[in-house]
């Protein structure tokens, strides 16, 4: 780009591609054009095999080419129909090959839903500020919903879905249907009356407020202030199951529990029959175990008691006494024996002493004892002897006879 002066410049020659790219960058660089709602009348709808949808939005002044890719088409609740006035959300871009700017739409809604949504938000804010959605106000669901109130239309597929789930999961329950229109002018008052009637006359343990999917307008009754207040005032806890997974209604916020669908509401509110059967089996096993354990304990006690009994029986006492007698006997005998032994030992000692001092020991050292044969008297003096007296001479290993000779005095 050459520049001649401050104020003017030589016009640049663009290639079509560069220009188109430049325009696209302009459009895509403007955030206001990348997230917008456009209202207009639908025309020239075409839906080729690709699954994308092409249409034009127009009003009295202008028209706008629109395309919606297949991935967005499948998410729509509402698809454009020739001649209808709609609001399309998306971003502006440029289709280079055709040299066209167009709306890449991702969401479509009939005109009026925008206002509905705004009032939805306003009501939600208001009730929220009042504390109607306060988590602390949410009532817990009963573990055993013997009586289940249902508020819905008897013709609705939602009722069939709910009953199907309840038959499978919890056939022990009793269902009380309070039928009402769930769509149209009458619906809000009908739902309020049904909730009140159930609480007043049927006293259910839980209430399922259900309705199948639909447009925001179809679900309007569930975004009604009176309905929200009736839910909040319900004595029985309320489970809401309105529309599809992605639909949130004021009723959902006011309910004690929000389920994504009618079937899910029935599941959340009830125990499962299989689960119940399992706990019955467990209880049965637990009591068998407990009783078996008790028997075992009693058996052990009995065994202990029997052992105690045997120890205390007369026979045992007798045996015991006998043993004690035996013990005493033994001890006595032992005592006597010990005394004897002691005595024996001392006798033995004395004998030894005796022996040491006795004549035998003297004789053994070479002395002899001389006795008169006539009297046996031991000779201690020469005066006892007359020459010729027969004598008995004892030495340590025997004795021999002798005859006294001449006496000699010292």
């Amino acid at each position: 780009m050459s520049q001649l002066s401050f104020f003017g410049r030589v016009a640049r020659t663009w290639s079509v591609g560069d220009l188109t790219r430049y325009l696209r960058e302009l459009l895509e660089g403007d955030f206001r054009l990348q997230d917008l709602w456009v209202r207009g009348e639908v025309s020239n709808v075409s839906r080729p095999a690709s699954g994308h949808v092409y249409f034009t939005l127009k009003d009295a002044d202008a028209s706008l080419r629109c395309v919606m890719w297949r991935s967005d088409v499948v998410r729509q609740r509402y698809l454009p129909r020739e001649g209808e006035t709609v609001e399309a959300h998306g971003r502006l871009g440029v289709y280079d090959a055709a040299g066209q700017y167009q709306l890449y739409a991702d969401t479509l809604r009939p005109t009026g839903e925008g206002e509905l949504f705004q009032s939805f938000l306003r009501l939600k804010e208001k009730l929220e500020a009042e504390g109607l959605f306060d988590p602390a106000k949410k009532r817990p669901l009963p573990a055993w919903p013997a009586r289940i109130g249902i508020v819905t239309s008897p013709a609705a597929a939602a009722l069939r879905d709910v009953l199907h789930v309840l038959r499978r999961r919890f056939p022990l329950g009793e269902i009380i249907l309070a039928s009402t229109a769930v769509q149209g002018e009458e619906a809000p008052a009908g739902i309020v009356a049904a909730l009140k009637a159930l609480n007043r006359h049927a006293r259910p343990d839980v209430i399922l407020l259900v309705r199948g999917g639909g447009s925001l307008e179809d679900l309007a009754a569930f975004n009604d202030e009176d309905v929200a207040r009736a839910i909040s005032a319900s004595i029985a806890p309320v489970v809401s199951g309105v529309g599809h997974e992605t639909d949130f209604t004021i009723a959902d916020f006011a309910a004690d529990l929000r389920a994504p669908t009618p079937s899910a509401a029935a599941e959340i509110a009830t125990p499962d029959r299989l689960e119940l059967a399992r706990s019955v089996t467990q209880a049965r096993q637990a009591q068998q175990r407990a009783f078996g354990l008790m028997l075992q304990e009693r058996r052990n006690e009995l065994r202990t008691a029997r052992a105690g009994l045997q120890a205390a029986s007369p026979r045992a006492v007798l045996a015991n006494a006998r043993q004690r007698v035996d013990d005493f006997g033994l001890r006595a005998r032992r005592a006597v024996e010990t005394g004897l032994a002691l005595r024996r030992a001392s006798v033995r000692g004395l004998a030894q002493t005796l022996r040491a001092v006795g004549p035998a020991a003297v004789l053994a050292r070479g002395y002899a004892v001389v006795q008169l044969q006539s009297t046996g008297a031991v000779i201690r003096s020469v005066r006892q002897v007359t020459p010729g007296d027969p004598l008995k001479v004892s030495v340590h290993d025997g004795a021999f006879d002798a005859v006294a000779g001449e006496r000699s005095a010292e």
Binding site: W144, A146, P154, L159, R160, L163, L166, R167, F170, P171, L172, G173, E174, I175, I176, L177, A178, S179, A194, A197, L198, R200, H201, A202, R273, L276, A277, S279, V280, T281, A283, R284, A286, Q287, Q288, A290, F291, L293, M294, L295, E297, R298
Partner: protein, 84 residues
């Protein structure tokens, strides 16, 4: 242990039967009772558990509906919508 329980299991709802069954299990587990009483409890527990199982097997959803009358009140009626 509550002693006012000579209700026949045949007349009991699932909820009543199961609750008593659980009480019996707890009593037996505490183990503090004469043996003959324990045996009685055990036998009753067996009967109750059979009653519970039977109720689970045989139960059929009861359908009723609230119908408004002329006085602006409501009464309960059988609901019959098995047109499938």
């Amino acid at each position: 242990m509550a002693k006012a329980k000579e209700k026949s299991p045949e007349e009991m709802t699932y909820e009543q039967a199961f609750e008593e069954l659980q009480q019996i299990v707890a009593s037996l587990e505490s183990g503090k009772m004469p043996l003959d009483e324990a045996l009685k409890l055990f036998e009753r527990g067996q009967t109750l558990s059979e009653r519970c199982s039977a109720l689970l097997e045989q139960a059929e959803l009861r359908l009723r509906q609230l119908v408004p009358d002329e006085a602006g009140e409501y009464r309960e009626e059988e609901l019959d919508l098995e047109e499938e």
